[in-house]
Amino acid sequence: MSYLTYVGKRLLQMLPVLFGISIAVFAIVHLIPGDPADVLLGQNATDARVKILNKKLGIDRPLLVQYFAFVWDLLHGSLGTSFYNRESVSSLILGRLPETGMLLFGGVILSILIALPLSILAASKRGAFRDQLVRAIPIVGLGMPQVWVGVMLILLLGLRFPLFPVSGFGETFPERIHSIFLPSLTIAILLSPILIRSLRASMLEILDSDYVLTARAKGISTARITRVHVLRNAIIASVTVLGINIAYLVGSMVVVERVFAISGTGSLMIDSISRRDYPIVQGVTLYFAFIVVLVSLITDLIHAALDPRVVVK
């Protein structure tokens, strides 16, 4: 199979998934008990007004027709308008993108900075004390609640040693980097145990491989082997692991935003729940699912481009 065939096949595979996602998100809104009219007009609205509104919102049509209308709007980039303030859902989501994007990016960078050196340290001397120590990290780390890690960082690095702001999102770019640090670190602490687990394993595999043995036989120094052969492959491996865990990453982000009172996309969703603003809940759910599908596609394509074995399989 050539790379292009692989790309085509992978894209085709996406179609049923996108279809499934659209059905699921559509179902979420239609499973909600009660009419949207109850929310918009209040409990005491007359039947006549409810009927008029339902006609206006198009929910008096058959489900199938509504589903196609929903998909049609989606294909035109429209996610509907908020019940609460009549703004377009897609522009509301895009407006929150800087916060969410920086948090995601910061979390990924910091987690690689934490996990990569630790995994190299552990794998370089299998079974030694330092390896045991690094292997213990996931045992404790995977049991830490996201919100608690955030609160503990606030306590330590925000209050005891007031190095970083504990909430909000600054105005200027340096301010933003400063205020996004603790939330990003929270995400990094949650992701690192997962990364360490897979990175240590792939690192050991690399160190046992023939090309490293060849390099050693040629008398190349350990430092150079680590830098040239091991590190490069390890970074590819981390990208793949991150790609696989993107859903977990995005999900944690929603929760972490809340701890640090950052008004990103996750906060938008949670705020909309108390207002029963379902176009937004629907829009954000769809948006996150779409990000996950897209990121796993990109990861797979990069992985396949870098490692020809994937395409052959």
């Binding site: 499934g20 996602i21 909600i32 995977l142 049991g143 830490m144 609160v151 701890v259 996750g266 699912a289």
Partner: protein, 265 residues
């Protein structure tokens, strides 16, 4: 079978907490949810070992009673995903073909939803509470078991004992139940240990967001949220409930590792 130290330590640690949760009324005489406005935000005293919260409730009592909620729902929430995932995994791996491609596309779809996003959307539909949490965890959780079992079935299918069972003309249902299941289930059981931790983490996060078990019921997530407001004076209010979760996570991961060591023998 060799004595597995990890397994026993894990079971011991978890067992101690389970016992404490069950016999909570014998360990502490306070009510976990009844406010006592005369004694709010006390530090540790002889009477209140870990002090009291902003509503004057005994923190130690709430931690122990919180275990009832978090452990019970955490355990309960993985039962359905386990059963559904293992059954579908058996089916899809065994039948292959069309069944397999339909179920696997379904798996891909559910994987695309970040768990917390789906859970929050479901809480929106069904309202906050235990029911929504269990539905959300079930909807997302079965996928992992399905994939694990499917992978194991694909391997086992080609092995001699299954070929032999087929040649004797046994019906598929019997082969799956009596020959396949016992051989492919162990990895799922090990995974279930970490899955319990994941579902407790979900309950805690939803509780923190105010979308979980409704207040005033003692629950670790809402305790962290309540404690965050008092973090500069009474740091332990938010810290201790989190440590309880870490304790549970630690003991379950020891149990998981112990099981792996046992099964590999």
């Amino acid at each position: 079978m060799k004595f597995s130290k990890t397994l026993y330590v894990g079971v011991g640690l978890l067992g101690a907490l389970v016992l404490a949760a069950i016999f909570a009324p014998l360990i502490t005489s306070f009510d976990p949810n009844e406010p006592d406005y005369a004694n709010t935000l006390l530090g540790p005293t002889a009477q209140h070992w870990l002090g009291t919260d902003p509503l004057g409730r005994d923190v130690f009592t709430r931690l122990i009673y919180g275990a009832r909620i978090d452990l019970a729902i955490g355990l309960l929430a993985v039962v359905l995903p386990f059963i559904i995932g293992v059954s579908l995994g058996l089916l899809t791996g065994w039948r292959g073909g069309k069944t397999d491609s339909i179920i696997m596309r379904l798996v891909d779809t559910f994987i695309a939803f970040p768990f917390y996003v789906l859970a929050i959307a479901l809480v929106f539909i069904f309202g906050p509470g235990i029911k929504s949490i269990i539905i959300a965890i079930t909807l997302v959780g079965w996928v992992a078991y399905c994939r694990i079992v499917r992978a194991n079935v694909l391997v086992a299918k080609e092995q001699d004992y299954i070929h032999a069972a087929r040649l004797t003309g046994l019906p598929s249902s019997r082969i799956l139940r009596r020959h396949m299941l016992p051989n492919v289930i162990s990895q799922s059981i090990v995974f279930a240990m970490s899955d319990i931790v994941l579902s407790i983490l979900a309950i805690v996060s939803l509780g923190y967001l105010g979308l979980g078990v409704p207040v005033p019921t003692a629950e670790w997530g809402s305790m962290i949220q309540e404690g965050q407001g008092y973090i500069s004076q009474q740091w332990w209010l938010a810290t201790l409930p989190g440590l309880m979760v870490v304790y549970v996570g630690f003991s379950l991961s020891l149990i998981g590792d112990g099981l792996v060591a046992r099964l590999e023998r």
